[in-house]
């Protein structure tokens, strides 16, 4: 499986700064169909910022995004969705005051032949998707603010998988989930992978990452330290990359690698 096919996503030399802070600097990552790529790094390393550029939430200052080898013009979340990019944000980005179905279909509401909202149809498929994700979920009529943190997270995940994504970005999707729900998300990731969807997974749980990811990219202070196949490195080596920026022999160094004295 040496990468002969064109990558599904290629982000090349991406930089963005917020008022002088280089949140992401010259970062390059790629993702192949049916692959799970984990992004790791300390708090504030720039992981969320990098994927938000892919999802259209931020506009990059520099760099290039290729989808299936072709330059992609992503200026806002609508553009990203057109390329089949769905995102579960770390902040969840749900509208608290409306119910689960309204959140799942936000921006892509089903409508009746008269152009009005087809709430029943939306609720029906919401029940179906949520049933797969979190069978204990019952509170379909309540505004999302009445839900627990984990339930809200389920809603955010359901929204991302509802619309045949080709590229799925998951920014700490299981941070608030219980063990059963986390396992379910793990199964979901494996299933989506089998369907050929490419997944960027951001997580601080190194065990989960080794369970699910094919490759890891490690970021530190906005730069990519290096990347590796999960089979070629140990967990301790990856921790070394995260904490010290030390690139082990099994990994390929990036611009952020610790310079050997």
């Amino acid at each position: 499986m040496t990468e002969q096919t064109t990558p599904l996503v290629e982000m090349k030399n991406i930089s963005i700064s917020f008022g002088g802070i280089h949140a992401v600097e010259n970062a390059s990552v790629d993702l192949f169909p049916g692959e799970v790529v984990a992004l790791l790094g300390h708090n504030g390393a720039g992981k969320s910022t990098l994927i938000k550029i892919l999802s259209g939430a931020y506009r990059r200052d520099e760099g290039e995004i290729l989808i299936n080898g072709e330059p992609a013009d992503i200026r806002n979340p609508r553009d990203a969705k057109k390329y089949g990019i769905e995102t579960i944000y770390q902040t969840l980005a749900v509208a608290d005051n409306v119910d689960a179905a309204a959140n799942l279909y936000l921006g892509r509401e089903l409508r009746t032949k008269w152009g009005t909202l087809d709430d029943v149809a939306m609720e029906a498929s919401t029940r179906e998707v949520m049933g797969r994700l979190n069978p204990n979920f019952r509170r379909f009529k309540e505004p999302v603010k009445a839900l627990s943190g984990g339930q809200r997270q389920s809603v955010a995940i359901a929204r991302a998988i509802l619309f045949d994504a080709r590229i799925l970005i998951m920014d700490e999707p299981t941070a608030a989930l219980g063990p059963q729900e986390t396992a379910q998300v793990g199964d979901l990731i494996k299933q989506l992978k089998r369907e050929g969807i490419g997944i960027f997974l951001i997580s601080h749980d190194i065990h989960d990452v080794f369970d699910l990811a094919d490759r890891v990219f490690v970021m530190k202070n906005g730069k990519v330290v290096g990347h590796a196949r999960t089979g070629d490195v140990t967990k301790d080596e990856v921790l070394g990359m995260i904490i010290l920026g030390k690139v082990p022999p099994g990994a390929s160094p990036g611009p952020g690698a610790m310079k050997m004295a």
Partner: protein
């Protein structure tokens, strides 16, 4: 131990799906899904009405007073329906009173000065052209303010505070401060009065149509939920809701029909149509006033927009979490522009009602209306922190405030004290609402 835990879970789940425990009252509200907050407002309204009725020695709850109350409420009620959407998106519109004044003046000049020169006097199309002109101007002003808010990122408070001054000043410049009168005869129907009411027969027809619509909506809702096998209301609750709705509608119609034309107008009418004057007097019902019909129509249309259309869904989503709405791909700026444009159009409708009622367009028309409109929306349960509000609540809020004012006028309380009371009630209502919300969740 394990047993108790198990049974607790059981009872909570069954409670959540809508049957079982709870006392009779709680069960009733759960089954009928009646909004208890709205009910609380109706309760407050009834208390105020009965209170004034007693204090005025039986002057308040008369067909005549209730009919006037409905007409006086219409203009602010129309604007309050739009203010809900504005406030739901965490904005505010302080310019509505001035836009009312400006569009009213435009419509006044169109029908009293401009159109007679072009079409001649009393042309049947005058009222429609004047109204259309006002609606267009109102919509454009609103869209303009909305665009500044959305695309230039100037806070709505500032933009509309500027608008409050600008459009009031602009009103003066239209006629250099002169009052424009009289209005076109057809246009005047929008203001109510003996002619501007639809009479007994039409009122009953409207009432019966409304009842049919209520029943149809309930049947349709039930059918939809059945289609997807969702939990339904118990059938008795459906009957109760239908009956309650119809009784209220028909009750309102019969009250409106119980207010008869004043004797001099009736006499003039009798003479004009050569009807012999009966001994006992001629009783011609007013029926529902046209401005009230306009307000109800505005309420229905705005409720439809807010709850059944994508646009309304976006309005609420933006109010709940602007960032999430943006990330979901909603064009939040355009939604903002549309909301303010809609608000401007509603101001023009309110202006039509109030100029028609006054039979003149004046400089001071709509002054302070922005405050009453905002107060109506807020008393009606629209949260200033965004995301929450109903059109029906805001209209009830408008009715409640007008009731207070009318009642105090009947009691002979002077204007300064009226303001003190209205101001205090506003604060009280919002405090009660805060308490209610804290308890509900």
């Amino acid at each position: 131990m394990a047993d108790t835990a198990h049974s607790t879970t059981n009872s909570t789940t069954s409670g959540g799906t809508g049957q079982a425990d709870g006392n009779l009252v709680a069960r009733f509200f759960r089954a009928t899904e009646i909004d208890t907050r709205l009910l609380g407002m109706i309760g407050a309204l009834l208390i105020i009405w009965v209170g004034f009725h007693i204090m005025t020695g039986g002057l308040f709850l008369t067909p005549r007073n209730l009919w006037f109350l409905s007409v006086q409420t219409a203009s602010v009620a129309v604007m309050a329906t739009g203010m809900v959407l504005v406030i739901v998106t965490r904005n505010i519109d302080l310019s509505v009173g001035s836009i009312l004044g400006f569009t009213g003046m435009i419509m006044g000049v169109l029908q009293a000065q401009f159109l007679p020169q072009v079409l001649g006097f009393n042309h049947p199309a005058t009222w429609a052209i004047a109204l259309a002109g006002g609606l267009i101007v109102g919509g454009l002003i609103g869209a303009f303010q909305g665009a500044i808010i959305a695309f230039l990122n100037v806070p709505s408070f500032i933009v509309t505070l500027g608008g409050l001054l600008v459009w009031r000043g602009a009103t003066w410049y239209v006629t250099s401060g002169q009052t424009v009168a009289p209005m076109d005869a057809n246009f005047r129907l929008m203001g109510g009065g003996a002619d501007g009411s639809i009479g007994a027969t039409w009122s009953w027809i409207v009432g019966i149509l409304a009842c049919l619509a209520i029943v149809a909506a309930i049947i349709n809702g039930r059918r939809q939920r059945k289609r997807f096998h969702f939990p339904r209301r118990p059938i008795w609750a459906e009957y109760v809701l239908a009956a309650l709705g119809c009784i209220i509608v028909l009750g309102v119609v019969s009250i409106a029909n119980d207010y008869y034309w004043p004797i001099n107008i009736a006499r003039r009418y009798a003479e004009a149509n050569s009807i012999p004057w009966p001994e006992s007097g001629l009783f011609i019902s007013h029926g529902i006033a046209v401005p009230v019909l306009i307000a109800i129509a505005a309420g229905i249309v705005m409720t439809f927009i807010a709850t059944r259309l994508r646009f309304g869904r976006y309005v609420f989503a933006i109010g709940g979490n602007p960032e999430a709405a943006e990330l979901a791909g909603i064009k939040t700026r355009w939604v903002t522009v549309k909301i303010f444009a809609l608000m401007g159009i509603l101001c023009a409708i309110a202006a039509a009602i109030s100029t028609a009622r006054l039979n003149a367009a004046t400089n001071a028309q709509g002054e302070l209306d922005e405050l009453y409109t905002i107060a109506a929306a807020v008393i009606g349960g629209t949260s200033l922190s965004g995301g929450v509000g109903t059109i029906a609540g805001a209209m009830l809020g408008a009715l409640l405030m007008q009731s207070l004012q009318s009642g105090m006028v009947l009691l002979g309380i002077d204007t300064p004290f009226q303001r003190i009371v209205v101001g205090a009630v506003l604060v009280l209502a919002v405090w009660l609402d805060t308490v209610y919300r804290a308890k509900a969740k």
